[in-house]
């Protein structure tokens, strides 16, 4: 069975519309053992969320076309089984009012873009109890 869940890989749902940033996060997180499910915007995320099991972590860009990150966050918070999923926001602007709103809505943290690889990994690993993937070789 080709099921990554049975293989034990933790799943990261990545909602990011900037292609190269998304590719980079995917590369970094797959390198340390995650299965990354990408969604290109908030609408796609809202479509995928009901179809998949709750992931180990969500990395969610705040500024997204069509449906923004805060709205997706509300969707996540009201989806059964997803309540315990840690959500970390991604943003290019730290002063955003939306960052504060996201944290108030239950996001665990936010990461500023651009980010350095080690900082990204360290910040995200904090929220993963138990489902620690293999260390980067």
């Amino acid at each position: 069975m080709n099921d990554s869940i049975s293989q034990g890989k933790p799943i990261l749902l990545l909602v990011e519309d900037e292609e190269d940033t998304a590719n980079l996060v995917k590369l970094i997180m797959e390198d340390i053992g995650y299965q990354v499910v990408p969604a290109e915007d908030g609408r796609e995320a809202q479509r995928i969320i009901p179809l998949m099991p709750p992931p180990s972590l969500v990395l969610l860009d705040i500024q997204l076309p069509h449906v923004d990150g805060v709205t997706v966050l509300s969707t996540i918070r009201t989806t059964p089984d997803w309540k315990g999923v840690p959500v970390v926001m991604l943003t290019a602007d730290s002063n955003e009012r939306d960052v504060r709103m996201a944290l108030a809505l239950g996001a665990k943290d936010y990461i500023l873009k651009p980010f350095k690889r080690d900082a990204l990994v360290a910040r995200l690993q904090r929220f993963l109890d138990g489902s620690v993937p293999k260390q980067r070789s």
């Binding site: 980079l24 970094i28 500024q63 290019a92 873009k113």
Partner: protein, 111 residues
């Protein structure tokens, strides 16, 4: 077109050698191609006075550049984004030239 120098000393304080995480190598061609395409897009939309698109593209570039190791790209993109908010055509045009020149001269070294 200037030759890429081995030492980073260059005209107008531009760095020309960039150290990039070796594991990013597979993504590099697309990253650089997309940045060059972004410059074209910003030039075209600037000509149409479409500051919103310039801002949007610059914003995306700002977030991606430094993540790949290109702090200079983030720096320039941040300037363009700010100038686009202010509708400052001449600053945008100038920064786009600088960015264009940089993208054509930059040399990637993997570490």
């Amino acid at each position: 077109m200037d030759q890429a120098q081995a030492t980073p000393k260059a005209a107008a304080g531009e760095k020309e050698t960039v150290l990039v995480d070796a594991s990013f190598e597979p993504l590099m061609p697309q990253f650089l191609t997309n940045r060059k395409r972004d410059v074209v897009t910003m030039r075209e939309t600037l000509a149409q006075q479409d500051f919103e698109t310039v801002q949007k593209v610059a914003h995306g570039m700002k977030g991606a550049g430094g993540s790949y190791g290109f702090d200079r790209i983030t720096e320039l993109a941040a300037g363009i984004e700010q100038a686009a908010r202010a509708g400052d055509v001449s600053t945008i045009a100038r920064d786009l030239s600088t960015l264009d020149s940089y993208l054509n001269r930059v040399k990637v070294v993997y570490e």
